[in-house]
């Protein structure tokens, strides 16, 4: 039985959080909504004027915006499966019995990438992937690959760093899921079959699902938010090959100073985010 409590008690518990998040979360959104309906350029504040939905129209018909959107989802669709596959592999390796110390060491090293400042990852990428003095080309046997200056390679490099930084997170989440499997159930299963796949599919997967859904939600959100690492690594270049949606909005709003247009872009992004979140959470996630 859940507790029946008075409205006052509920409010006392939940009110401050709602209030706090409303101030920092909702107020700016309302402001952005207002801005998006105006011609609002930071360097032309004298000429602010109401223009209705014109900014939205410009965004919706701008192929550059949709290309950036498409690029963002392409990154999600390439990086996320890699992260889940590699993460699952790592989790299974670390879940095998034995090798205590080595596994502890591995777990410790897995914590490092996910704690690393994203902007630093990008800076590190510039140093390591440089065509001339980069260590990556050296380790690839003196290859002469132009990573940063070639659109396809630059995209591959972004995928690499995203996978490097977030696979450990996936691995640790899945590992935590694996340890939830009751020992006797797993042992019984192993006695019946030698195939690790069968064990994974029928015994372990149910315990992994909540974690996988959480990963799906968090990684989708983080890809839509992706900014820091790309900003310091390629700044969206060369050309527009790594210009993801958040970089584009930043460019319009804080380099072109067109806050009206950028707000409209931001609100459209927000709507897409909420729809995705609704789908994920309502469909996959265990209800409260």
């Amino acid at each position: 039985m859940r507790a029946q409590v008075s409205r006052r008690t509920i409010f006392a518990f939940i009110g401050p959080a709602v209030f706090g998040l409303a101030i920092v979360g909702i107020a700016p959104l309302l402001y952005a909504g207002w801005t998006s309906l105006h011609f609002f350029n930071l360097t032309k504040l004298k000429r602010i004027k109401f223009i209705g939905l014109e900014n939205y129209w410009s965004v919706l018909t701008d192929e550059v915006f949709w290309q950036a959107m498409g690029r963002t989802f392409f990154l999600l669709c390439t990086a996320l499966p890699l992260q889940i596959a590699l993460g699952l592999g790592i989790a299974l390796i670390l879940h095998k019995p034995g090798l205590g110390l080595l596994k502890t060491l591995a777990r410790l090293s897995l914590v490092l990438p996910m704690a690393t400042t994203y902007a630093v990852v990008g800076l590190l990428g510039q140093v390591m992937f440089n065509q001339k003095f980069g260590v990556v080309n050296q380790l690839m046997g003196g290859a002469n690959i132009n990573w940063i200056g070639d659109p396809t390679n630059a995209f591959a490099m972004i995928i690499f760093w995203d996978v490097w930084q977030w696979t450990p997170f996936v691995a640790l989440v899945l590992l935590a899921g694996l340890t939830m499997v009751p020992g006797e159930v797993e042992e019984a299963a192993r006695l019946e079959t030698k195939s690790w796949w069968v064990v994974l599919r029928h015994v372990q997967l149910p315990f992994l699902l909540p974690g996988l859904v959480a990963v799906l939600i968090l990684r989708t959100a983080d890809t839509l938010k992706l900014f820091d690492m790309v900003f310091t690594l390629t700044r969206g270049g060369p050309g527009s090959s790594t210009e993801f949606i958040s970089l584009m909005i930043q460019r319009v709003g804080f380099r072109g100073f067109d806050q009206g247009l950028a707000s409209a872009q931001a609100i459209i992004l927000l709507i897409i985010t909420i729809v995705l979140a609704q789908i994920y959470i309502r469909v996959f996630y265990k209800e409260v």
């Binding site: 959080a17 090798l99 704690a115 902007a119 899921g177 909540p210 939600i217 909005i249 927000l270």
Partner: protein, 272 residues
């Protein structure tokens, strides 16, 4: 025989995992000890005479230390605030019945998904009109937008896993809900609280975009500082890596110390 071969494979794979995770840090630290000329040598050199010059410049000429302190103040305060607001809310979401609960929970979580650029534009204008630019408090507050959802998400799950009969006795004795939360449930939910605190701290320490847009000098954060050396005229790679090392070391040490809680708490709502 078969098992020893698979054991060998396991060892090799684990070593590869460790190497891939650690190598970039090795490279960052060694580059930070190189002079600009050595850093630009092609192909890169692995053995060289290390210098601390980059650290000297970063710490004493460019005041990286101050930005580190700013980052620390901001990350600690926002984490504390997120816990203070988030834990009671999570308790209510997990254990009280009320209308609109699902929507409220969903709204909290959605905030975690909002791109910071959506908020950065208007927040800048609001902070400007309230004269709050370049102040610690501004970042402490805005970081709540991603920390509060994380706290609520993880801690709600934890509270839900605590059986009700535990606090039955207390309730019969007339203890308030607040007392029940504090005395009975919170100690049991500690692993989740710890994980959410760790995440809050890490996310806040690492945040760049708000730091870049909402601060200038007084409250400038460490990631914003690292980016500020990126002049197209001359990239001082050694100094950039030295600054990066200074930024990353504290959070890595923190993460390593907390790694046990981190690994244990990442169950993300799996069956308890």
């Amino acid at each position: 025989m078969n098992t020893s071969r698979s054991l060998l494979w396991q060892i090799v794979l684990i070593l590869v995992i460790i190497a891939v995770c650690v190598f970039p840090f090795y490279w960052m630290v060694t580059t930070s000890l190189k002079t600009q000329i050595v850093a630009l040598e092609a192909p890169p050199v692995w053995l060289f005479e290390p210098t601390l010059q980059n650290y000297r410049e970063a710490l004493f000429e460019d005041a990286v230390l101050r930005t580190l302190i700013n980052s620390l103040i901001i990350a600690v305060c926002t984490t504390a605030l997120a816990l203070l607001l988030g834990v009671p809310a999570a308790f209510a979401l997990a254990r009280f019945e009320f209308r609109g609960k699902k929507d409220l929970w969903f709204w909290f979580i959605t905030n975690r998904m909002v791109s910071p650029i959506v908020l950065a534009l208007p927040f800048f204008l609001i902070a400007r009109s309230l004269n709050l630019l370049d102040k610690h408090i501004t970042l402490i507050l805005i970081y709540l937008t991603f920390n509060l959802p994380i706290v609520i998400w993880i801690v709600t799950d934890q509270f839900r896993g605590i059986p009700y009969d535990l606090d039955e006795a207390a309730r019969l004795e007339g203890a308030s809900q607040f007392t029940i939360m504090r005395k009975i449930c919170l100690p049991l939910a500690m692993p989740g609280v710890a994980v959410s605190a760790i995440f809050s701290f890490i996310f806040s320490w690492n945040e760049l975009m708000f730091g870049l847009i909402l601060t200038r000098t007084e409250a400038k954060t460490a990631p914003a500082m690292a980016v500020s050396f990126m002049e197209g005229y001359n990239l001082p790679y050694g100094k950039i890596m030295a600054t990066s090392t200074l930024i990353v070391i504290p959070v890595l040490i923190f993460a390593l110390i907390a790694s046990k809680q981190l690994v244990r708490g990442l169950t993300m709502g799996a069956v308890k």
